[in-house]
Symmetry: C2
Subunit: 451 residues, 2 copies
């Protein structure tokens, strides 16, 4: 068994599950970005930390690219594998090693599905705060490697805020621990933070100690509609200034509301041209929701509040069904810029203008609590048409011109690489490459991604 540049026999001797079957390798070489570049030579389904180490030692020795892979739910092409490479699938390492309720931590392997961790925490009266829209499919390893965000980020932050310590296999196969199982620590440099969000380019996460939180005793929901995006964005700022830090603070634009109406047979768009959803939790959830509703009342066309789970679920439809509604129209391309909170309205208006000028169909929802805007392009067919590529490029330029960033939570992956130096500047770009060389001198770990 061999491919053009290396023989796999020595590698597979150390493994218990791998495949070179074209269909297997092909599907393991893609993620949700739909950017094919491979396929890889082999997919290794690691069954132990030792197998991860053996794979990296082999690849390091022979100079073969290794693409770490969780669930392949990424939308930036981070897990897309080039031809001749090794896909290192971590999904079999899916044990929740322990939940320690007194410390409010969980120790998990990287292949654990995000929602499964949350459920396991629930059995101890705890929860796992980071909740990307992909909770049901994404892995903790992928979440850590992309520093995934989610709806609850307005109050609870991103994945980095939940990671206390990681076991990481370095490019040459050595196993190290970064971080510590304490909530606070300043010994040495923050290598833990450096590893989080590094998209599999600095090391492979094989174990994580994660922070959990007490499961909220109650949740309240506020839904409001506005005459337009400017009013809704101003309302989001007013909420942030109220002294209540909502768990969830989401904006949905008019075109998306209309798309949901078409899917769900609702009349949401008739309520207004922009939607704001806020959620509060904990012992004071109801009081905090009242404060938010009062702040919104003078700005909104319509406000509704509920403490009841069934009612709340209905109020959340306008956000929950946004992506499914757009997926019914065509193939969705999910973008992910972030801007300073005060520039939110400008960003969304700018995106609408780009849609008008390029002819691209672009819908927008945003994590208004942290200025993270998701422009969703809907296209026909697999290839991205030229006008859509132009629209995306103009969205990136818009983000940078507003003091914003190319990616709030999805990562750079393969797709945004050409833009990184423009955002970070030449000197920082050079430092990033030097750090990459330091961790991975042979350049085998997910080459061509993230930086």
């Amino acid at each position: 068994m061999s491919v053009a540049t290396f023989s796999l026999d020595d590698l597979v001797a150390d493994l218990d599950d791998w495949s070179v079957v074209p269909a297997d390798v092909e599907s393991a070489s893609r993620d949700r970005s739909g950017s094919p570049i491979g396929p890889a030579a082999i997919v290794v389904r690691a069954g132990s930390v030792e197998q991860v180490q053996a794979t990296l030692r082999f690849a390091h020795q022979h100079g073969i690219a290794v693409v770490p892979r969780g669930a392949g739910s990424g939308v930036a092409g981070g897990a897309v594998a080039g031809s001749g490479s090794i896909v290192l699938d971590l999904s079999r390492l899916d044990r929740i090693v322990e939940v320690r309720a007194d410390d409010q931590v969980a120790v998990v392997e990287p292949g654990v599905i995000t929602a499964d961790l949350d459920a396991a925490a629930g059995a101890h009266g705890l929860f796992y705060a980071p909740d990307p829209g992909s909770v049901g499919i994404s892995t903790i390893g992928g979440n850590i490697a992309t520093n995934a965000g989610g709806l609850r980020g307005a109050k609870y932050g991103v994945t980095r805020d939940a990671v206390l310590s990681l076991d990481v296999v370095l490019a040459d196969g050595r196993l190290v621990t970064v971080g510590r199982e304490t909530l606070k620590r300043v010994t040495g440099y923050d290598l833990l933070g450096l590893l989080v969000g590094s998209e599999g380019t600095l090391g492979v996460v094989v174990r994580a100690t994660l922070r959990l939180l007490p499961r909220p005793v109650a949740t309240s929901t506020v839904a409001a509609y506005f005459a337009g995006i400017d009013e809704a964005a101003a309302a989001a700022i007013a909420v942030r200034s109220s002294g209540v830090r909502p768990v969830v603070l989401e904006i949905v634009d008019g075109p998306t509301l209309a798309a949901i109406d078409a899917l769900e047979d609702t009349r949401l768009r008739a309520n207004g041209a922009a939607f704001l959803l806020a959620q509060t939790d904990g012992h004071a959830a109801a009081i905090e929701a009242d404060v938010i509703a009062e702040v919104l009342a003078p700005l909104a066309t319509y406000v509704e509040t509920s403490d009841d789970p069934v009612e709340s679920a209905r109020l959340m439809t306008a956000r929950r069904q946004a992506l499914p509604a757009l997926e019914r129209i065509g193939r969705v391309v999910i973008e992910d810029i972030a801007v300073p909170p005060s520039r939110l309205a400008e960003a969304i208006r700018g995106i609408h203008a780009i849609a008008d000028e390029t002819g691209a169909r672009i819908f927008v929802f945003a994590h208004a609590g942290d200025g993270n805007v998701h422009p969703i392009l809907v296209v026909d067919g697999d290839e991205l048409p030229a006008y859509a590529i132009e629209a995306v490029d103009r969205i990136f330029a818009l983000a940078l011109s507003l003091g914003g960033t190319l990616t709030g939570e999805h990562g750079v992956g393969l797709l945004k690489r050409d833009w990184v130096a423009q955002e970070v500047g030449g000197v920082v770009d050079g430092l990033q490459r030097a750090i990459k060389s330091l961790f991975d001198p042979a350049g085998i770990l997910n080459p061509g991604k993230a930086i």
Copy 2:
């Protein structure tokens, strides 16, 4: 004007404020750790970013050590300067450039005093959350370089959580920006996080964009006394499990209570052998305080709650006066370990045992919300006696044996360097040194500190 190894004439040509007067240089070569190694050759009081750059360019060219300095309030020897070195004092760069209320950010120079930023934020209905005990004297640059924590950390985290973007002068004098003025971002590696807490060894912070928060509309305080440390630590865990995340959650041990009684003529120690202080804030402060008081009632010997500022100040005496009371007894050496929250009682009991066995006088208070324990040694005279050195070493060993860390918030500085490799392991120690070399190939930036 010259010293043994280099001439300063070229340097001072670019400066408007510097001194080689022995008394000036001597006092600028020390911090609160009381560890003299210098004095430096010169103290440069930078009046502009250009002067910082000129100083570093000069030092880089001639291979001269540069010790960045804020207020010198550090207790780990981070700002202690070796002989022949340049002290780069940033305290003149003390402008609050702007407070942008809509974005809830402030842009500041590094020499701004922490409390001054908080006051400036207050004029916009905002506050700056990190509140080290030294707020009145420490600088933002020093806080960033040490990743300072404080009392409010239980709810609001540490300095890193407040830093969005930094302008940093690198060792060779180049100026870069790391981070971005957005609340969320995953473009490239987290160099921002790497710079925060790097104790002046990777770059000099010359400007920071910091996150502010709405000033709480109300605050409530709960004070409780317990039969012993075990009960108080169990109570802290119960509070953390209650679903309320208090702003402040502090433990004070019996010996410290007795010391406060001696200073203040109070009878605190008579209430119990351990004290727990909790504070809540925001629209639901009172409700949350009631939840905490209910959780504490069955565990405590005595519980008192107040929403009144004057009463609250009285309840806080047992924590606020802890350090002043100990300073009255002798010279204090402030230690700073952190352990997983469930090991808090073991850590404090272990420290008491070390005190008994070595004969050192050790008092303990702790940020119970995040397991950060401050053993305070009280000694006579300037030199640390052998039994005190032994006690400190045993405290570090205890921290590591409990899965903890050498330093929760004060930094490694000069004093804890010999212990770093034991905590992080040889491979990570090597990576840290390699990162240092990458940022500072000539090794001029605060050599011999932090890693």
